[in-house]
């Protein structure tokens, strides 16, 4: 049921009539490209799907429940994905249809 990378590559290969090697090369190229742009705080927007951007999460204090010790967790940059409007409406429809 779930679409893992293998299935994704296969599907893309059949649609594009490429070999799966080509597709996976392209995918890895794309992912590293996205990564490098996010590092530079660019947003990568894929129309009709959504956009990737880097968000800064502030530092926080977390407690290890096992020993009760408190840790200051450093701030970090995380990649986030914001779904586009079309995806959102689709989600809404999905909710309404059921």
């Amino acid at each position: 049921m779930n679409m893992k990378n293998k299935e994704l590559v296969k599907e893309l290969a059949t649609r594009l009539k490429w070999t799966s090697v080509e597709v996976s090369e392209m995918l890895s190229g794309l992912s590293s490209l996205i990564g490098s742009h996010l590092v530079e705080s660019d947003t990568v927007s894929l129309e009709d799907f959504g956009q990737f951007e880097a968000r800064k999460k502030g530092e926080r204090i977390s407690v290890n429940p096992a020993n009760g010790k408190r840790y200051l967790v450093p701030p970090k940059l995380v990649p986030v994905f914001k779904p586009s409007a079309t995806v959102k409406t689709k989600l809404k429809d999905l909710g309404n249809n059921e």
Partner: protein
């Protein structure tokens, strides 16, 4: 920076990097989006290697309050598209912050509110920097004074005096948060004019603090400093307290200052030994410029005649009498002898400090054009970063802070290159690469690069033990040999190997804490009056700021 890239731009770049024609790349990207957005609805989960997983998840209905009308509303059950980035992508994106580590927070620290804690840390950090900036300023002053005659120096003091009144008012207002000091100050302001130079110094210090506090407020460092935050002010209070109210003439005043210097010196140095805190060292240094200035006056007075000495002794007697009343301890009889010895000792120490600071200064000038250099101290206080071994999970989280780079050439922070050469070039088969330490490098980051886990920095350290005196501060430009994984059975995927490294780390750090605190050594040198203290030339107290060159978000270094 902060560009918004569209599919077309992405496709163009991708075409360039992969070497395919633009059309097919664009088709690929579009098709990818189609496939993902279609199948995420049919399959509920799509995983893209290197990017992450898209998932449609169901959100239960819940109650909420309308922000505008303040009415209770029910948010109906709905779906949302969640994206969880793959580890690879997460790490790439977090690279600018990757040198941060989790820190254990001391149990006894007060966390009434998290914000205030952050503030406190800011303060502590600020103070750190302040002290050093002051130091530089004093050194400059000192240099001037050395070039001129003492008379002229006095004129300078007088000049400062004229400004002091205004400053006093401002500062008293500003320092409301530190009532003790303010009180002291106000008391002092009313005192005879001869105390003004000292007050002036204090005022200048405070002024500096105020100025720099504003400037540096944004600058926040990751570590928590367990040491008391108001270091400088403590010194200031001390200084003030030790001036006895009655001042007869200027020479007396000078003598008082000398005494006070001695009084200050000893406790501070011992404190330094007690803690392993670099900070304390800096405190001491911040005091030295003052001493130094004083020493000038001392020399003068000594040369003048013996009357001065008598006067001094009288003074001393008076004061010690005063003190013994307080403490019920000290010996009165052999004071004259004692103080003479102490005085001589102090003069010798002061001269050494003067000599070294001058050399230190000249080194500074050699290395950079501007003399006003702002130095940040990285105080990797070991206590906070190490954990008891055995708790391997937490150890992973918690490995230590790695290296701080030292004295870096600020002119070329980004362009410096890490020199890596193939193992064949270096000869040994058990060597992966040679790395030249550059600004901002850390052992744990190097380990992460070569071994896949920060904890394995211990092996780099082990392998280069002969070169690394202190794993927490490695000089820029040092060449390190990176051993092959097989030499130490390094395997980032093997928990046992990681655990071993973590145990080793705890050992190394505890060792390091015991024997190689550079500040302690410095201290020893000072006490044995060795004039050629190597630590003063290598100045381990100068840390360049790794935050500045490492992250792109550094336009405003405010991470919080």
């Amino acid at each position: 920076m902060s560009n918004r890239l569209t599919i077309k731009e992405i496709a163009a770049e991708l075409a360039k990097s992969i070497g395919k024609d633009y059309e097919s790349v664009e088709r690929f990207v579009n098709e990818l989006i189609n496939v993902v957005s279609e199948s995420v609805f049919t399959d509920k989960l799509v995983q893209i290697k290197g990017i992450g997983t898209f998932k449609i998840i169901q959100v239960e209905k819940r109650e909420s309050i309308d922000v505008n009308t303040k009415e209770r509303i029910v948010i109906p059950e709905h779906y949302k598209l969640s994206f969880s980035p793959e580890k690879e992508l997460r790490e790439t994106v977090n690279k600018p912050f990757s040198f941060f580590e989790s820190i254990e927070i001391n149990d006894d620290s007060d966390f009434a509110s998290f914000a205030s804690e952050t503030e406190e840390r800011d303060k502590a950090d600020d103070q750190d920097e302040d002290v050093e900036i002051e130091e530089i300023i004093y050194e400059q002053e000192k240099k001037e004074e050395q070039n001129e005659k003492e008379e002229q120096a006095e004129i300078v003091v007088n000049e400062q005096l004229s400004i002091s009144k205004e400053k006093v008012n401002i500062i008293v207002e500003k320092e409301e948060s530190k009532p003790e000091i303010t009180d002291e100050e106000e008391k002092e302001i009313g005192d005879p004019i001869f105390e003004r130079p000292l007050i002036d110094e204090i005022l200048e210090e405070l002024n500096q603090i105020e100025k720099i506090n504003k400037k540096e407020k944004e600058k926040i460092e990751e570590e928590i400093l367990p040491a008391p935050p108001l270091v400088v002010n403590e010194i200031v209070t001390e200084t003030i307290k030790e001036i006895p109210p009655p001042v007869v003439n200027e020479q007396e005043q000078v003598e008082e200052v000398v005494e006070e210097t001695q009084e200050q010196e000893l406790p501070i140095y011992s404190a330094e030994q007690a803690h392993d805190e670099p900070k304390v060292k800096i405190e001491a240094e911040s005091v030295t410029p003052k001493e130094h200035r004083v020493s000038y006056e001392i020399k003068e007075t000594n040369q003048k005649n013996e009357d001065v000495m008598d006067e001094y002794n009288e003074n001393r007697r008076r004061e010690s009498y005063h003190r013994s009343g307080e403490r019920d301890s000290e010996k009165n009889s052999d004071n004259n002898k004692n103080t003479l010895v102490i005085l001589l000792l102090a003069v010798v120490i002061i001269l050494i400090i003067a000599l070294s600071t001058v050399l230190y200064m000249s080194k500074d000038i050699l290395f950079k054009s501007g003399t006003e250099k702002v130095i940040t101290t990285q105080t990797p206080s070991q206590n906070t970063f190490t954990l008891p071994s055995g708790d391997s999970e937490v150890d992973n989280l918690e490995d230590e802070w790695g290296i701080e780079d030292e004295f870096g050439d600020e002119g070329t922070p980004a362009t410096e290159e890490t020199v890596k050469s193939a193992s064949s070039a270096t000869g040994g088969s058990d060597i992966i690469a040679n790395v030249r330490i550059k600004r901002g490098d850390r052992l744990n980051l190097i380990a992460l690069e070569y071994y896949g886990n920060k904890l394995f920095w211990v092996y780099i350290y082990e392998h280069n033990k002969s070169k690394i005196t202190n794993p927490n501060s490695i000089p820029v430009g040092l060449d390190l040999v990176i051993p092959a994984k097989s030499v130490y059975n390094i395997d980032a995927n093997n928990p046992a190997s990681i655990r071993k490294a973590s145990v080793l780390q705890t050992q190394i750090l505890s060792q390091y804490r015991q024997y190689s605190n550079p500040y302690n050594q410095y201290n020893q040198y000072n006490q044995y009056n060795q004039p050629n203290d190597p630590y003063q030339y290598n100045d381990p107290y100068q840390y360049s700021d790794p935050y500045n060159n490492q992250n792109q978000y550094g336009q405003s270094p405010n991470y919080y």
